[in-house]
Subunit: 202 residues, 2 copies
Amino acid sequence: MTTPAAIDFYFDFSSPYGYFAAEQIDALAARHGRPVRWQPILLGVVFKTVGTAPLPSIPVKGPYSLHDIGRTARYLGVPYRHPGRFPLPTQQAGRAFTWLAERAPALARDFARATYRAYFTADRDISDLGVVLDVAAGLGVDADELSAALADAALKARFKAAVEAALARGVFGSPFVIVDGEPFWGSDRLPQVDRWLAEGGF
Amino acid sequence: MTTPAAIDFYFDFSSPYGYFAAEQIDALAARHGRPVRWQPILLGVVFKTVGTAPLPSIPVKGPYSLHDIGRTARYLGVPYRHPGRFPLPTQQAGRAFTWLAERAPALARDFARATYRAYFTADRDISDLGVVLDVAAGLGVDADELSAALADAALKARFKAAVEAALARGVFGSPFVIVDGEPFWGSDRLPQVDRWLAEGGF
């Protein structure tokens, strides 16, 4: 029996819609017997490539988007509190995820979900190294070991390479899901992902 | 017994997602006993205000969007054939709608749906006056009378004013639905519109 192919889930830790997808993607994929490969990206790098900008900075559309985020959270039944600092840099969280994923992928996913909840339900500043270490420590990770790893230039390079590989695959937003080569952008496309997995395309 | 308040449906005739919403909005609103007020807008005017650009012109996101449009049409079960010329100017269609709506709102809605189908299923150039007149004639409209009306500067001014009024209400994309003051952007928000109408908010 062959292992079913993983689906790819790309997200930025500063993306509310990425958080909404993170709360749903594993259960969705599991209904179709598929594992999920989680990969954080950096929207700042994406925006430079695609020429777009962070939502809050766009006139008219920006304020609407903040409203839509809160409403979509209620629609999905996902707890949400808009952070005081938004968006923010997510390199530290991305590198910590990378280091954890190299050791224990399931733990890395738990870290990703816990980091999202720290940011989007408890307004913790996840750009801060201390907060990242604290979230990881809450999952049983040795904070000193992780802290030393995060200072390692080689880890930074591995995360950077992973972000560049995502962009090379055409990833340009968060969340972004790829199922057997088929790209889906946005948490509002998860119903399409669900049908795609059920029917093998449509 | 008071008449239930209409919901507002804004769309550009060159917008595929506007077409998808046009195929669904009346039935959706009718399930909740609500009439729909249709109002064409001009995305070109919106883009100048918001500083965004037509989808196809955006790197990476543009090609994805064309792919997403075709897939979303299949997902919704709406017939779709991507037009050879896309996007295109929709002033003539917008003015014709305005003139028809002043006389017979139901006929204007039929004209809007027929114009969308001419463009997005039969690849007809709806920026062309002759095509607009032909679509209207197919619904029993006197083409000579409509043609004379479309040359009238006062009609142009009335449509322009309606587009500006939409922008002043915060409309910045197509489709855009406003339910009792609550704004929804995108055909993928129709499930939220549905619940909003059912529950009076959430």
